[in-house]
Amino acid sequence: MKEKFLGHSVVRKEGREKVTGRARYVDDLAFPDASPEMIHGATVRSSVARGRILGIRYGDGIPWHEFTIVTAADIPGKNEITLIEHDQPCLAAGMIHHPEEPVVLLAHPDRYLLEQARQAVHIDVEPLPAIFTIEDSLSGREIIWGKDNVFKSYRVNKGDVDSAWARADVIVEGEYRTGAQEQLYIENQGMVALASPADGVTLWGSMQCPYYVHKALTLLFGLPAEKIRVIQAETGGGFGGKEEYPSMIAAHAALLAWKSGKRVKIVYDRAEDMAATTKRHPSRTRHRTGVTRDGKLVAMDIDFVIDGGAYATLSAVVLSRGTIHAAGPYSCPNVRIRAQTVATNAPPHGAFRGFGAPQSIFALERHLDQVARAVHLTPEEFRRRNFIRKGQTTATGQVIHEDVDLNALLDRALRESDYHAKLERFARENPGAAVKRGMGLACFCHGAGFTGSGEVTLASVVEMEATREGCVRILAASTEIGQGTNTIFSQIAADALGIGCDRIEIAQPDTGAVPNSGPTVASRTAMIVGKLVEEAALALKRTLLESGLLNDACTEEEFARACQSYIETRGPLRSRSQYEPPPGLHWDDATYSGDAYGAYAWAVYVAEVAVDTVTFEARVTDFVAVQEVGKAINPALAAGQIEGGVAQAIGMALYENVVWREGRMANGQMTNYIMPTAADVPPIRVFFEEQPYPFGPHGAKGIGELPMDGPAPAILNAIENATDICLREIPATPENIMEAMTEKVGAHG
């Protein structure tokens, strides 16, 4: 097969609509039918972290008869936002478990009056003691979920850690923490709903996973699946934040539409979006690591805990990915990982690019710098002595079959960043300088696709259909959220069919029209769904070849003529592909061992920082990202993923600090929750190595989450190199740096 488009930076398929402002996001949707009219919906929330609802009062001065008012009593089916567990209600009735819990829904045509009305609803709550930290949750002083506050725990055992300590010359311990992080997609979440008993429920909105919303609404309304239809509008960023929460907004908009008979729009403003929707799980990781004098890992004992917030949502799966990535791309004969996700009275934490891995990798890559120092090795030399190689096993016992060469990635990253020369120069210049500079690195890998048996369970499907004009439509529920799904799917299909990218159409993700190709998460779209696109395209072409209407080497015109005659003489020309696992993948959920992922992307990142000892600000001044990704289907889009992920991770490392007050985000505005601007980012220099993965489309592996994993530890390692202060928690804000530097000065008198 000729690669005419694959490997080339084809321009973004929907790019023209985006640069001209014509792309329609949920808040931009106009509906041709004037009837029913569109009205606005709003959510009244508890402001108490935990308690019992005593009553709801509707204040004076509001024409309540004009409003549609919905409470839990109005739900036709089950009062539940279904995901993994069955614990999260759509609207609280009885108990309150976090301070942003939705209790009452309102709708009215005038959104200014609606806001006044929202403020006039008073929810009387008898408060109960609440807990807000991992420590409080683990202590069990209040049990707020299940019998012990633990949503899920895992244990990974490789070798025998307890007996291995005796063989270690040096043992290094450390505790590391990461804070919550807001996804901060620039488009706030929103949904428009139309619903009636006769026609069922239709939703338009901003989302990553139309079939998640579909499943949740089916249960909520107690309707057959075909009565629920979910359509993705253009979506202004997701980063995981639009994986599970859209089901909640969809449910709310649909309930108001069901009761009012009107079309109802709920679009959050920034304050509500930051307050109520999910964030990255805060984490605490404890490491105890045994090494020989010459720097070989002997034993790794890892205790990993994440704060899941008030309901289980996706925490078990986030924990799973964080657990599996906790021991990194290293070979160690004895590894024990104890992992737990626990409940607190904060809004549920959820999916965010990297999905637990950035937390556990931060801890490991910070810790390994301490271990290296303890055995008098440089950070890079220590890692070289322990890098995993082909044929060796990961913590879960997965034998690496990929031709991974982490030494080569490290060599390239050190060369591109001019690492050694800069280290030497900074060491010379730093004494006496007010701005101290340093270099730091991190080595890591990120598994693509669902963990373990997840992809087999999903059994994703892609369909394709040809038109008489010789265009081919791809039918999939995978969403374009900025990462380039539309474009890379077109490239894959065009090359498989031997026609132009402009002959490929992407069907709008609409559960009424496309099959379930799975959620747009877990770095799975290019590798898993992309492969299904390729297979469906090859199947469609095979049908034409076998019909005798087409020769293998055909022109676009011949292809179009063949499509036309096929459709005229035999009917619709369609194809379908469904996920089959690559041979030899085995995973055991009971022992948490085996092949956790079909493939990993491998990376070495180097950060250069400057720390101002007067203002205590740390800045990243240069960044090198070297990664092996199988095959970059579209190098410009792939680089865009890495650059964006690195910037988001720079935010996680230095700026993005969620301030909590009694379970609520106290700084839920862009004014005081600070993400990187154009003035804050360094040059981000991206380099790809390619080792084709046999089961990805043209060798491609997943890359979307990878760049979130490495920057934070690399940056904090660089801060330590620059200043000798050992920060173990992110974000490293000026306040935290000041505190650490002041302590250090104090300690030295």
Binding site: S9, V11, R12, E14, G15, R16, E17, K18, V19, T20, G21, R22, A23, R24, Y25, D27, D28, A30, D110, Y112, L113, Q183, L184, Y185, I186, E187, N188, E234, T235, G236, G237, G238, F239, D269, R270, I481, G482, Q483, G484, A636, L637, A639, G640, E643, G644, G645, V646, A647, Q648, Q669, M670, T671, M675, P676, T677, A678, A679, V681, P683, I684
Partner: protein, 167 residues
């Protein structure tokens, strides 16, 4: 609010067309553009002037339309993203964003394109520091800004020393 203050007539020029709408004097220009004029290319990201998604040109100067009261738009010349391309012919800045990968999810793109136009109006050939400063009021969560910087540089190359058409 709504029952104590009356709507007023606001006449202005938007993308070269004379427009007249009824709006509350303190309504946000953003809402007037989006709801009264159906120009939904201008986006709301934060509603407090931090993200720049709602940027438009008001008498040639870049403003966050979420912070501008409708009454201030009376008599003004406004340019929104819908008025940047010449029909189907993309403006050089738009073409550069398309070619260089400056747009990902696209929600910041209208504001970013407006900011780039305002920047190039001030500095026809901006250096790295000027580009960063000129775009620092517009947040993008997808790109890490690298390809946006490249888009601005490309746009300059495509339009050597040709000043913005005067409004």
């Amino acid at each position: 609010m709504a029952d104590t203050v009356a709507k007023i007539k606001i006449a202005c020029t938007v993308n070269g067309e004379r427009r007249s709408v009824q709006a509350y004097p303190m309504a946000r220009l953003l809402d007037v553009l989006r709801e009264e004029m159906h120009l939904t290319g201008t986006k709301e990201g934060c509603g407090e002037g931090e993200c720049g998604a709602c940027a438009v040109l008001l008498d040639g100067a870049i403003v966050n339309s979420c912070l501008v009261p409708a009454i201030d738009a009376g008599g003004a010349e406004i340019r929104t993203i819908e008025g940047i391309a010449g029909g189907e012919q993309l403006h050089a800045v738009q073409a550069a964003f398309l070619e260089c990968g400056g747009a990902q999810c696209g929600i910041c793109t209208p504001g970013m394109v407006i900011a780039a136009l305002a920047l190039l109006d001030r500095y026809p050939h901006p250096g790295d520091a000027e580009i960063r400063e000129g775009l620092a009021g517009n947040l993008c969560r997808c790109t890490g800004y690298q390809k946006i910087f490249a888009s601005v540089v490309r746009a300059c190359e495509a339009r050597p020393a040709q000043p913005e058409k005067k409004r």
